[in-house]
């Protein structure tokens, strides 16, 4: 009895985290190709991502997995991206051919967004080489419209994100580019890591400038990289996230750059200027750490971890360096609180990629996921202090500004070459699952078996004056005496895009007391007394809310 009481006491004080990889037998069978096993070029390091999107509008999340390529491909069919239709219960069917997909480019990222506001998600794939834009035909098929959309560009593209920079009701696009690289002209200098010769990283290459496209609304885009100010400064771009970083109502952009300082572009768009950004990277405190040191930024996410209503930023970095949590102090100012939050020392041996703020245990605060995997196979050949394949990390938000490492007891022990990750409720049971894109192997489909007994609620936003996806909407939820703030985003983490629905854990609260939605159009709607443990559809401007089946 005493022992049982102790267990009960412990369990009530400890958050519940449990993930199980259910990829075997799921029907998801893509073993990614990504360069050689020995890694001879920088292009072979970076891996791929995943997108969770309801392409067929049947109410559940389907899965798009990006595939890479190789300098020397074996004879036969080239590697292709895959689309898997969700059949429920973590069972998937490969519908790539039927959907008219199957890009064979050297893929990196993918993200979904309704670019023409017709109610179905379109798809962008970022490549080393031209990106590919697919228009959703609304009948389960897609059409490649890259050329007519004006998105052909031959550079090395990494992550991308959609957001309506000029609030015209259509999703614009930011594409992070990485480095100037030609397979026929790799660097001739020897490069070293811990004394071992390795394929050269970014410092032996030139950083690339990034791209901003304005959506004209007719499925074509104007390249405004120069006029917006973004192309004035190059960077080895990897992860991209959009959020409201300086307290105004214009969607800003943050980019994790490898060894070139991260970018914080504050949106200064006006009717006169068109899409315009101010480079606030250095003065914001979010571009560098420790006296202006560049980190090797990989992935990034934003989220209000401390409940003050402002989006904070988390970036992942190289091994022997820490992952960084920038606390948003307001007015576009940030403070590195990584070590105070207990996220610094524990992450030093890892090379992180995707990261995501999400309430995995439904206790009404944002936890933190980090996907890891080194880039050098040589890491296993001597006492490097790290390893090539690495396990992922999960941090429980303690609620006092600190996090607790719960990786091992969450079941995240498998060591892989993780890169991208998409978070969403794949099995529609109310908690958030994770798809991790691993290099040279199957993805991990991490079914969330934790959070039992906790309440939740989620919202699918439908913009009417705003963009159809409601990307950029800020939602403030009050329940159980706590306030939670989320921004609706498209694209994030690393090379990936998450469940487009906004998800909240409610702990024991039986209902949402108040929900206010700040639409990108400027409209604000307030809803009250929403029952927990169900999904809702919020249609802008109708004042109505519908339960989602």
């Amino acid at each position: 009895m005493r022992f049982g009481a102790l267990l009960l006491l412990l369990s009530s004080g400890q958050a519940q985290f449990r993930f199980v990889d259910v990829v075997e037998g799921s029907g998801v069978d893509l073993v990614t190709t990504f360069g050689s096993e020995e890694k001879r070029y920088i292009i072979e390091y970076t891996g791929t991502g995943a997108a969770l999107t309801d392409y067929d509008l049947d109410g559940d999340l389907d899965l798009y997995l990006v595939n890479g390529s190789a300098v020397e491909l074996p004879p036969g069919a080239p590697p292709t991206d895959r689309l898997y239709r969700n059949e429920g219960g973590f069972r998937f069917t490969d519908v790539t051919e039927a959907a008219g997909l199957g890009d064979t480019g050297w893929g990196g990222g993918s993200l979904a967004g309704d670019l023409d506001n017709d109610g179905d998600p379109d798809l962008l794939v970022t490549n080393f080489g031209s990106n590919v834009l697919y228009r959703n035909n609304g009948d389960g098929t897609f059409t490649d419209v890259t050329a007519s959309a004006g998105l052909e560009d031959g550079r090395w593209h990494s992550s991308a994100a959609f957001g309506d920079f000029d609030a015209d009701g259509f999703l614009d696009l930011y594409v992070a580019n990485h480095a100037v690289f030609e397979i026929s002209e790799p660097p001739k200098l020897p490069c070293f890591w811990k004394g071992i010769q390795i394929a050269c990283g970014p410092l032996a290459h030139r950083p690339e400038t990034h791209l901003v496209y304005r959506n004209r609304g007719d499925f074509s885009f104007a390249d405004v990289s120069d006029s917006s100010g973004v192309s004035s400064r190059p960077g080895f771009g990897f992860g991209v996230v959009m959020d409201y970083f300086d307290d105004d109502d214009r969607l800003d952009v943050y980019v994790a750059n490898d060894l070139s300082g991260n970018f914080l572009f504050l949106n200064r768009t006006t009717a006169e200027s068109g899409i315009a950004f101010e480079d606030a990277s250095a003065l914001s405190g979010a571009g560098f750490v420790e006296g202006g040191r560049e980190q090797a930024g990989m992935g990034v996410d934003s989220g209000d971890f401390n409940g003050d209503g402002r989006p904070d930023i988390h970036t992942t970095n190289f091994s022997d360096d820490y992952n960084t949590l920038y606390r948003n102090d307001g007015s576009g100012l940030f403070t590195d609180v990584s070590f105070e939050a207990r996220l610094g020392e524990v992450t030093l041996p890892y090379l992180g990629w995707a990261t995501a703020f999400a309430d995995f245990d439904l206790d009404s605060d944002l936890d933190l996921l980090v996907v890891n995997g080194h880039i050098y196979p040589e890491a296993d050949r001597f006492q490097s202090g790290t390893g090539y394949a690495q396990s992922n990390l999960l941090f429980d938000n303690v609620g006092d500004g600190t996090f607790r490492d719960v990786s091992a007891r969450s079941g995240l022990v498998d060591k892989r070459l993780g890169r991208g990750a998409a978070v969403g409720d794949v099995d529609e049971d109310g908690d958030l699952d994770v798809v991790v894109a691993n290099m040279h192997s199957l993805p991990a489909l991490l079914r969330n078996d934790g959070g039992k007994g906790k309440n939740w609620v989620r919202f699918l936003l439908v913009g009417r004056g705003s963009n159809r996806d409601g990307v950029g909407a800020r939602v403030v939820l009050e329940a159980g005496g706590r306030s939670q703030t989320r921004t609706s985003k498209s694209g994030g983490g690393y090379l990936s895009s998450h469940d487009p629905r906004l998800h909240f854990g409610l702990a024991e609260a039986p209902s949402v007391e108040r929900l206010s939605v700040h639409w990108p159009s400027g409209a604000v709607e307030v809803f009250e007394a929403l029952a927990a443990t169900r999904g809702y559809i919020l249609k802008e401007g109708t004042g109505a809310i519908a339960e989602r089946p």
Binding site: C191, A204, A282, L283, E290, G291, G292, F318, T335, P349
Partner: protein, 363 residues
């Protein structure tokens, strides 16, 4: 008869062999001009005569004729020379233990080519870093227990910032001379530079065992533990260093860094304050003290601290970065922009003086 002359007996006539021996004798007697004339005669008749070309390269180098020496060396391919000599004389170099045989039969050549590591040092001095490393790895097995040779070559590699072969050399030194404190220290330092924390810890702990308490070693070992990461052990070591050198600020600075890594900002602030009071000319404690005050929101306090940091060390770019943050927060935008511009300028200058190798060592 020298080893090289013996090996080349099938190539050179008897007269040429005598000329070559005479040239080598002049070389060893430091009559380099005389030696050059002799080598020139050999090379005129036999342009592919690798030993003569290598000897001439060394003589040219010692005479300051570096371009000519470099030309000869590139033709001689010194890294292949030794293997050619050894294989030509004794068969497989990988299976036959040669040192005793070499030094007994050909003491002069064994010393020149092997015991002194001449080809390695020559290549290093001429900037042939990859070739020197390859040559060292090729010859290192010949006498792994010759601590003098490996210590000399290890120091040369470390001097050239080639820390991997340096570590390999000092690994051999400590294997044959396990009481050599300096070698353990060098091994630890080399591994620290290579960011190989575990081997650095092993080497530095051994050095401390042999040398008893010494501040520099304790700080180096603490740093290895800090990066491992094990900041508790690092703190213990830094505190031992502080007790050994109560008037030194550096141990307190490292204590502050380790406490920051533990998220203990108040304690770290005390340590940086102590470090700065003991060593007012060290800018780093002031930089981090300012950063902590900035984190805490004490902008005016941070401003004073960081201004002291740049007064102490006007080239300390890190302080300008934090100063810019402070100015931005107290609404002095123009000064913030100037501070960031200064930070960027100083950082660029510092990057400019880093060698390409040092930059690439960061990947």
């Amino acid at each position: 008869m020298s080893l090289a002359v013996l090996l080349l007996s099938a190539i050179l006539t008897a007269e040429e062999r005598r000329s070559f021996e005479a040239a080598i004798a002049l070389h060893l007697a430091s009559d380099l001009e005389g030696a050059l004339r002799g080598y020139g005669q050999i090379l005129e008749a036999h342009p592919d005569h690798v030993p003569a070309r290598l000897y001439r390269a060394e003589a040219l180098w010692l005479l300051g004729k570096r371009e000519e020496a470099r030309h000869d060396l590139s033709l001689a391919q010194a890294d292949l020379l030794l293997v050619r000599i050894l294989e030509g004389t004794f068969g497989s170099v990988q299976s036959d233990p040669l040192p005793a045989k070499l030094s007994g039969a050909y003491p002069l050549e064994a010393k020149r080519f092997l015991a002194t590591g001449t080809p390695v040092l020559l290549l290093l001095s001429m900037g042939g870093f990859e070739e020197a490393t390859a040559e060292y790895r090729r010859v290192a097995w010949i006498d792994p227990e010759d601590a003098t040779l490996h210590r000399q070559l290890g120091s040369a590699f470390a001097g050239a910032k080639l820390f991997l072969p340096a570590v390999e050399a000092f690994d051999r030194v400590v294997a044959s001379a396990p009481e050599d404190v300096a070698a353990w220290r060098q091994l630890g330092s080399g591994n620290l530079v290579l960011q190989r924390w575990e081997p650095a810890i092993v080497a530095l702990e051994r050095a401390i065992e042999l040398a008893a308490e010494e501040g520099g070693l304790l700080l180096a070992l603490g740093y290895a533990y800090e990066r491992k990461p094990d900041t508790e052990t690092a703190l213990e070591l830094y505190r031992r260093a502080a007790r050994l050198a109560p008037a030194s600020g550096r141990p307190h600075y490292r204590i502050g860094r380790a406490l920051m890594a533990q998220g203990k900002l108040e304690e770290a602030e005390k340590a940086f304050t102590k470090a700065s009071s003991l060593d007012p000319k060290m800018p780093e404690p002031l930089g981090f003290l300012g950063e902590i005050q900035l984190k805490r929101g004490d902008n005016w306090l941070a401003l004073g601290t960081l201004e002291r940091a740049v007064a102490v060390a006007p080239e300390y770019f890190e302080a300008y970065y934090h100063l810019a943050q402070v100015y931005r927060r107290i609404g002095r935008g123009e000064e913030a922009r100037k501070a960031i511009a200064r930070y960027e300028e100083l950082k660029r200058e510092k990057r400019g003086v880093l060698s390409q190798e040092e930059v690439l060592a960061l990947r």
